[in-house]
Structure formats: structure tokens, C-alpha cells
């Protein structure tokens, strides 16, 4: 195993799965959060139809990342899940309710209002829990001798509540810009109207988190402030994306707001990775501390290298098949 670093390869795979999940499930969870604010039931139909063909494929990345963690970085799996015990349950419950609502809302007329509620609450709870996971990761975990020793609600602090709300705003922004891309008429007008407000909310939360984080973790402080480094490019790019969103929404561009929002997420994510790297279970354990045996990593790597291209192809294909605008009263009969 001297020739190449399996833990590094696995970190790239897991990191890729995480960002794929965040941006892809992000916009459909965001639509769920925006659901109650939609102008009318037609708009809700359009919102759901715009993601119906792809949403469960988006969740593939969550399961792939989770399974990969157990196999490649079991320490992450065995610390994060106990530490986030209640949060993980809420996230799963939210995702399940949302999934069921997705399937049955279309097949139901009389009970539609209940499926609407399940869809909205499921999305909101799952998103908040995911934001709290990110917050907990930044905060770090009480770990002694490879075992989590903290309490049931360590994951719920003022900081993680903030990251949870930030995630909700972020996903809602992704949802709104996705809707700009996929809809037209009054639905698109509504999406254009709410996008700037959401962006301001996201930027406000990002700003507080950015200022707060270096005080939570001295390593992060030294990473960013000890000497001027190349990584300052990442927040600069995030800001450029934010500016692009503002401008393109005002000019009523259709595709650019969504692409710029993706950029905002990706560069912020990379900024977070740059803050912590190579620590994967903060504050103390690196990817090499958290790794499983090299043979185990290699064994699964073979399968992953096989399946990831297939899943990517399938994903690209389903987005291609369902490209174009979703019109009111279309898609389902």
C-alpha cells in the first residue's frame, strides 16, 4: 500500500459523495421548505414535478457516502452517529416522510393537504438536522480513546442551531434558483422575487459562522490567519458567486442563478474542508487515524470505482431526459 494512499483516495470519494448529496438533494429539500409559501396549488404541482424524476436518485449519494464511511473511515461512523443520535433519527424520519409524501401526493386528491404537510415538515426537519451535523462537525466531538463520550444533546448548541437555520436558507435558495430554471410564468416570477431575500439570509448566516468558527477551533484560526495563504481564494470565489446570483436574478437570467448558487455551495464547502483538513473527526483524529485496514479499503474501492461511473451516467441521463421547463398541469395526469 506504499505506492498510493488509499485513505486519501477514500477521502476524495466520500468528499465527492457529500457535496453531490448536498447540492442535489439540497434543491429538492429546499423546494419542500418553500412549499407552504408557494403562491398556489398549481405552483406546488410544478415544484414537485420539477424534482419528481430525480429526487430519489439524489438520495443515492447519502446512502453511498454513509456505507462508504463505515467501510473506509469507521471511526467517523462510530463517533458521528452516536453523537448525533437524536439528530440522525430526525433526519431519517424527515426523509422518510418526505419520500412517502412524494409518492402518494400524486396518487391522492382528497388527502393531498396531509401529503403537502408531510412533504414540507419532512424536508424542513431533515434539512435542519443536516445543518446541525455540519455545525457539530465544525464544533468538534467529545471523544476519548476512539469512543464518543459526550451527551445526547451536544449536537444542539446555539452554533448548530445557527448552522441548521443556515442550511435551511441555503437549500431554500437552491430550490428557488432551481425553480427559476425549471418553471415559467407566475411560478417563475415568484421564484425571482424570493431569491434575493433568501440570498441575504444565507449570506448573513455565513458571515456569522465564518467569524465564529475560528474561535471554536484554534486550528482553524491558525489555518486562516497565521500567514496569508492561497485558500483565501475560496471565500473570494464564494463572494463572487453570491454577487453573480444577485446580478443574474435582477437581469432575469434563467440558468445562471442556479449555477452560481451551486458555486456558492461548492466553494463554501471547499472552504470548510480547507479549514479542517486532514482532520475528519474534530478536534483530534485525521483521515489516517479514522481509516479501516488498507485491505478493507482496497476491497471496497474496486466496487466503488465500478459503480460510481454507472450512477453518474444514470444520473446525467435522467436529468437529460427530464430537461426543459415544467408547465402547469403537465407531467402528471
Amino acid at each position: 500500500m506504499e505506492t498510493f494512499d488509499l485513505s486519501l483516495i477514500w477521502a476524495l470519494i466520500i468528499g465527492f459523495a457529500v457535496i453531490m448529496y448536498v447540492v442535489m438533494d439540497g434543491f429538492d429539500l429546499g423546494l419542500g421548505i418553500l412549499f407552504p409559501f408557494a403562491p398556489d396549488e398549481d405552483a406546488r404541482d410544478v415544484m414537485m414535478n420539477s424534482v419528481a424524476p430525480v429526487w430519489d436518485g439524489n438520495e443515492t449519494w447519502l446512502v453511498l457516502g454513509g456505507a462508504g464511511l463505515l467501510a473506509a473511515f469507521p471511526l467517523v461512523y462510530s463517533v458521528f452517529l452516536p453523537a448525533l443520535y437524536i439528530g440522525v433519527f430526525l433526519m431519517l424520519a424527515g426523509l422518510i416522510f418526505r419520500g412517502v409524501a412524494f409518492e402518494f401526493r400524486f396518487k391522492s386528491r382528497r388527502r393531498r393537504i396531509w401529503w403537502n404537510r408531510a412533504f414540507c415538515w419532512g424536508s424542513a426537519v431533515a434539512t435542519f438536522a443536516q445543518g446541525a451535523v455540519v455545525g457539530s462537525y465544525i464544533q468538534g466531538f467529545a471523544v476519548e480513546d476512539f469512543v464518543y463520550v459526550g451527551d445526547a444533546f451536544d449536537w444542539l448548541s446555539p452554533f448548530t442551531v445557527l448552522t441548521g437555520l443556515g442550511m435551511m436558507a441555503g437549500y431554500a435558495l437552491l430550490g428557488a434558483t432551481w425553480l427559476i430554471l425549471k418553471s415559467e410564468g407566475h411560478v417563475q416570477d415568484w421564484a425571482y422575487r424570493i431569491a434575493p431575500t433568501l440570498l441575504i439570509a444565507v449570506l448573513a448566516v455565513f458571515a456569522i459562522i465564518s467569524v465564529w468558527t475560528p474561535f471554536l477551533d484554534p486550528n482553524v484560526w491558525s489555518r486562516w490567519f497565521d500567514h496569508i495563504q492561497l485558500i483565501w481564494v475560496l471565500p473570494a470565489l464564494s463572494m463572487a458567486c453570491a454577487f453573480t446570483i444577485f446580478r443574474s436574478v435582477r437581469r432575469r437570467d434563467e440558468g445562471l442563478p442556479f449555477i452560481a448558487t451551486l458555486g456558492l455551495f461548492i466553494f463554501t464547502y471547499l472552504g470548510l474542508v480547507a479549514s479542517k483538513w486532514p482532520v475528519i473527526v474534530p478536534p483530534n483524529y485525521t483521515i489516517w487515524d479514522a481509516a479501516s485496514a488498507p485491505e478493507s479499503q482496497l476491497f471496497l474501492l474496486i466496487g466503488m470505482l465500478f459503480v460510481i461511473p454507472v450512477v453518474l451516467t444514470y444520473t446525467a441521463w435522467s436529468y437529460w431526459v427530464f430537461r426543459g421547463k415544467v408547465k402547469v398541469g403537465e407531467g402528471y395526469h
Binding site: 463505515l70 452516536p82 433519527f89 416522510f97 388527502r111 485491505e295 395526469h333
Partner: protein, 470 residues
């Protein structure tokens, strides 16, 4: 009262895994049946096969969808409640469980869409190929899961270094001693489950006189398969038991309700095991039969539960009675399929209302038998998580409190109650809708999202029936 996180976690795992297991145990058998129907249609061009295949594919879509949902929860259980176990065994269980996920995704991405939505849009041969691949995929999926589970029963090919299991021989670990028996027992159980469900639903259609021609075909082929497989399962189960006797004698002792190691051990038909007194009450048994079954000789030695210290004994009553439920249902299934053979004379099997009603009720039997069987093998392993190496208590998440475990236990029960009720309710609507007359046209499918449930083509409530005609 002090809440015990260990007990609550065990109950929670038993609940989520039992809930999950009923879906794959059905879909594994059903996938092969659908492939067979598509194959028969391909070969004979008989429309009846096609309509049967279409109907059962719709059922498959719903059940598969529910299995996927409950499976996601499973993949987090190991970490949330059994983190010490996860960390210790990750070198083996990590890749094995992940390969199951990889197989499932590959299957879903590449072939499930073609099976569910490709009918009439891809060449018939391609559609048949996709259905065969889906069936094959369900076997590969269960291969990984059952290998991982068997390794926990009969761990081999490893050494423990610093509290972690390091795999020294992968093929020894994957093909561990109990794996071949557990795998064959489970695959046959899946076929029995699929067979009895198809037979039960066909019988119900015959009772209400719908689509008699196709349903007679379906019932007949199911009964032939079950006639062969139900007895084979008894034989395979016997071999599995002998394998367990070799590796987990205490479990077999608990199954037999046998406290003292003895020769000429009786087969107990009834007993009330008393863990505290370390003996049975009200025993009724057949002399020497347990020895004959387990060792194939009347004076063969059968191990006793007391060989293990009371702390290392499983809860005997649960194992003892679950085993009797499983075996009892197994023999009931054999009796029912032989009754079918007898009724075939003069074709009465398709008209005998009492028999058709029996088949309807028997739909539940394989599910109960499978769950009882899993309770036997999993409870019978107690107190071990990895047999002889790591106990349940050692594997538990150290930071878990009773309150947390109780909260999620109630939570999962509530979530699953909603999902299960919605799913089963919807499934009954699909079945009530039945086979669609003639050559159904779902040409609007291309406009629909290609998700499993979309293939079911039934509405959720009556109000929407007219608007959802397709």
C-alpha cells in the same frame, strides 16, 4: 424505573430489521418469478404470461420501494446504537454491507428502470434480460448480507488486534462455515414466500372469478414449485440445524429445550422452559427423536443448555417457541401443497373453494415462518454479537442512555406505522385493481418519473380515480 439502553437497543434493532426483512424476503422470490413469466412470454407469445408479468411487476415496484425506505434506516442502526461493534468489525462488515449497497444501486441504475418502464419501449429480449438481471441482483444483494450475518454467527478468517477485527483470510471470512446453509435456507424461504403470495392472490382472484385463465396458470405453476421446494426446505433446514449443532451447540439446546446434555434426547412438542429453575415444566415429547434428527442416531448426544453458564445462555423460551412456530408452519406448508397435488385429480384444485380460501390465508404463513426463524437464530446467539468474541453489551454505544433509545424506538415505530399502513393500503388497491384487461397502454410513462412506485399505476384514494386514469 431504570431504562436499559441495551435491552431497548436490541428491541429496536429487532423491530427495524424484522420490519425491513419482510420486503426483501418477498421481492427476492418475486423477482425470479417475474423473470420466469417474461421468459415464458418471450418463448410462447401467450398473452396470459405477459399480463401476469405486468401485474406482478406492479406489485414488485411497491414492495421494492418500501424495502428501500426501510433499508436506509438499517444502514444507520449499526452506528447509532452499536458503535463499538461497528468500529471493531468495520474491516469486514463495512465492505460487505457496502457491497450490498453497491449491488443495489447498480441494479437500480442499470436494470430496474428497464424492467419497470421499458416494456414496449425496448426490444422484448432486452426487457427479458433486464428482468433476469434484477432477479440475479436480488441474489447478489442477499449474498453479501447473509455472508456478513453468518460471519457474526461463525466468525472465521480474522484475528483481534487492539480490539479491532483484522481480516487475515477474506475467503474464509466471506465463506464462513454457516454461510452456505443460511444462504440456501433463506433463498428457498424467499421462493416459498413469493410462491405462497402469488398462489394466495391467484386463489383469491379465482374465488371472485376474475381473469380465471391467467390465474389458473399462475396458481398451477406456483403449486408445482412449492410441491418441490417446501419439502426441500425441511431437508435444508435439517442440515442448517446440524451445522448449528457443530458451531453453536447452546442455540440448538435452546431450540430443543434440552437443559442437560444427554443421549436418547426426546423431541419436545410442548414445554414451558423456566430460565430461573434451569428446567422445563409440562414436557410432552417423543422419545429419542431429537437425537435422531440432530445426530441421525437414536443414542446420539444432544448438548444441554446448562453447558453454558446462566449469563451465557440465550432466553430459552423465546428460542424454543419461535422454533416450533417456524417448523410448525413449515409442515403446514408441506401439507397444503400436497393437498393441492391430491386435488389436481379432475382439476378440482381450481374450483375447491375451501382449498382456495386456505391458500388465501396461507399467504401470511411464510412471512411469519421467516420472522420466527430469524428470531430463533438471532436470539439463540445471545449474549453474543460476534459469536464467542464480542457480546451485545460490549458492542453497544457507550454514550447511549435508556431515554435516547426509548425515544428513537417509539419514533421508529411511529414512522414505520405510517409508512407501513400507507404502503399496505396502497398495495391492496393495486391487487384489487388486478390485471388490466387486454393490452394495457402506458404510453404516457415516458412523461412520468421513473421511480419504483410510479410503475404501480393505481390511485391512493377513490376521489382521484377518474382523474388518474392515465
Amino acid at each position: 424505573m431504570e431504562l436499559d439502553p441495551l435491552l431497548l437497543s436490541r428491541i429496536q434493532f429487532a423491530f427495524v430489521v424484522a420490519f425491513h426483512a419482510i420486503f426483501p424476503v418477498f421481492t427476492i422470490g418475486l423477482a425470479s418469478y417475474i423473470a420466469l413469466l417474461n421468459g415464458l412470454f418471450f418463448k410462447t407469445e401467450n398473452q396470459a404470461w405477459d399480463r401476469l408479468a405486468l401485474f406482478w411487476t406492479r406489485v414488485f415496484a411497491v414492495v421494492f420501494g418500501m424495502g428501500v425506505v426501510s433499508g436506509i434506516v438499517m444502514s444507520f442502526q449499526f452506528g447509532t446504537n452499536w458503535s463499538n461493534f461497528s468500529l471493531a468489525t468495520a474491516n469486514f462488515l463495512g465492505p460487505m454491507l457496502s457491497y450490498e449497497v453497491v449491488t443495489a444501486f447498480f441494479l437500480e441504475a442499470a436494470f430496474l428502470g428497464v424492467l419497470l418502464f421499458g416494456r414496449g419501449k425496448v426490444p422484448q429480449g432486452v426487457h427479458l434480460f433486464a428482468s433476469i438481471m434484477v432477479a440475479l441482483g436480488t441474489f447478489i444483494s442477499s449474498f453479501w448480507i447473509l455472508s456478513a450475518n453468518s460471519w457474526m454467527h461463525t466468525p472465521t478468517g480474522f484475528e483481534v488486534i487492539d480490539g479491532r477485527f483484522q481480516i487475515t483470510d477474506w475467503s474464509d471470512a466471506i465463506f464462513n462455515p454457516s454461510f452456505p446453509f443460511r444462504f440456501s435456507h433463506m433463498v428457498i424461504a424467499s421462493f416459498l414466500t413469493g410462491g405462497f403470495v402469488v398462489a394466495g392472490v391467484s386463489a383469491w382472484y379465482l374465488l371472485i372469478g376474475r381473469d380465471a385463465e391467467a390465474n389458473k396458470k399462475a396458481l398451477s405453476m406456483c403449486l408445482w414449485m412449492l410441491l418441490f421446494l417446501a419439502p426441500v426446505q425441511a431437508v435444508v433446514g435439517d442440515f442448517h440445524g446440524i451445522n448449528t449443532l457443530e458451531h453453536q451447540p447452546t442455540k440448538v439446546a435452546a431450540m430443543e429445550g434440552n437443559w442437560e446434555t444427554m443421549r436418547n434426547a426426546p423431541l419436545l412438542l410442548f414445554a414451558v422452559p423456566d430460565q430461573e429453575a434451569q428446567q422445563n415444566h409440562f414436557e410432552i415429547g417423543i422419545p429419542s427423536l431429537a437425537s435422531i434428527i440432530l445426530t441421525h442416531s437414536a443414542d446420539g448426544e444432544v448438548p444441554g443448555i446448562r453447558k453454558a453458564s446462566p449469563e451465557e445462555q440465550p432466553p430459552v423460551a423465546i428460542v424454543f417457541w419461535s422454533f416450533r412456530v417456524m417448523v410448525g408452519l413449515g409442515f403446514l406448508m408441506i401439507a397444503v401443497v400436497f393437498m393441492g397435488l391430491w386435488l389436481r385429480r379432475g382439476g378440482r384444485v381450481f374450483e375447491h373453494r375451501g382449498y382456495l380460501q386456505t391458500l388465501r390465508v396461507m399467504t401470511a404463513a411464510p412471512f411469519i415462518a421467516v420472522l420466527a426463524g430469524w428470531i430463533v437464530t438471532e436470539t439463540g446467539r445471545a449474549p453474543w454479537l460476534v459469536y464467542g468474541v464480542m457480546s451485545h453489551a460490549e458492542g453497544l454505544t457507550p454514550s447511549l442512555t435508556g431515554g435516547m433509545a426509548l425515544f428513537t424506538l417509539i419514533g421508529y415505530m411511529a414512522v414505520y406505522a405510517v409508512v407501513f399502513c400507507a404502503g399496505v393500503y396502497y398495495l391492496t388497491r393495486v391487487v384489487r385493481q388486478g390485471m388490466l384487461p387486454g393490452q394495457p397502454d402506458f404510453s404516457d410513462d415516458i412523461e412520468r418519473p421513473s421511480r419504483p412506485l410510479s410503475a404501480a399505476h393505481a390511485t391512493f384514494d377513490d376521489a382521484s380515480r377518474t382523474t388518474m386514469g392515465g
